[in-house]
């Protein structure tokens, strides 16, 4: 049986994965103004999990994800994406027209583009993760 990682890789992955995830969220949130956005952030996050997968294997990664299957992430991402489509309907604007809401108190604008970007993030993360994870999972099963 092959080891799924070495001690050094384990430690590195434990430190690096949170860093990468944090970085991905950072990229996501500021994507509207600086390089970044849902795709890039989602890919970074997927990379983070891939590192973890390489280091600890599939079942350990599943534990990290708790009950959330990558497929759930995909579904949630797509739904978030769809959720940014319809609000415009309520104000009789064409679908996907950006809606901006100021959150009172703090200087933060919630908007459908942001929701959309989050959807992209989740969908990208879920999709890539699902692919890599399934591939590794199947690899493990096979002689």
């Amino acid at each position: 049986m092959v080891k799924s990682g070495t001690l050094i890789l384990h430690t590195a992955a434990r430190i690096l994965m949170p860093l990468q995830l944090l970085f991905s969220v950072f990229l996501l949130l500021r994507g509207h103004d600086e390089p970044g956005g849902g795709f890039i952030a989602g890919l970074v996050a997927a990379g983070a999990f891939t590192l973890y997968l390489f280091a600890f294997g599939v079942s350990a990664t599943r534990e990290v994800l708790r009950m959330v299957d990558p497929r759930d992430l995909i579904g949630m991402g797509l739904l978030f994406g769809m959720a940014s489509v319809f609000p415009a309907w309520f104000v009789d604007q064409p679908f996907l027209t950006a809606q901006w809401w100021t959150i009172p108190g703090i200087d933060f604008y919630a908007s459908t583009p942001l929701i959309f970007d989050i959807g992209v993030y989740l969908a990208v993360l879920g999709s890539v993760l699902a692919m890599v994870m399934t591939l590794m999972e199947v690899d493990k099963d096979e002689p």
Binding site: V2, K3, L9, L16, L19, Q20, F23, L27, E34, P35, G36, I40, V44, G47, T50, L51, F54, D139
Partner: protein
């Protein structure tokens, strides 16, 4: 300063070529992977210099991404090697 940057770009350009030569020559997969890693590092350097030259800091984000994510490919290759046993290609 422009000259310095130009020279450094030329140097790193040559470095890219040399790294690529190693990729071609191999002879073993790890040699190539190491060259690929080096290639990525040089790219980080080039991006840094380019950010200075153009005075656009946004390019640094690309460098961060390489620095943070670039070694994943190497780990993938290593995994391949360990699982596949000795391979000459």
């Amino acid at each position: 300063m422009a000259t310095v940057i130009l020279i450094s770009q030329v140097l790193m350009g040559i470095a890219l070529i040399l790294a690529f030569v190693r990729v071609v020559r191999g002879p073993s997969l790890p040699d190539r992977v190491v060259a690929l890693e080096l290639f990525a590092s040089i790219v980080v350097g080039l991006v840094g210099v380019y950010a200075i030259r153009t005075d656009v800091s946004s390019f640094l984000d690309a460098a961060i991404v390489i620095a943070l994510m670039g070694f994943l490919a190497a780990i993938g290759f290593a995994r391949f090697l360990e699982r596949g046993g000795p391979r000459d290609d």
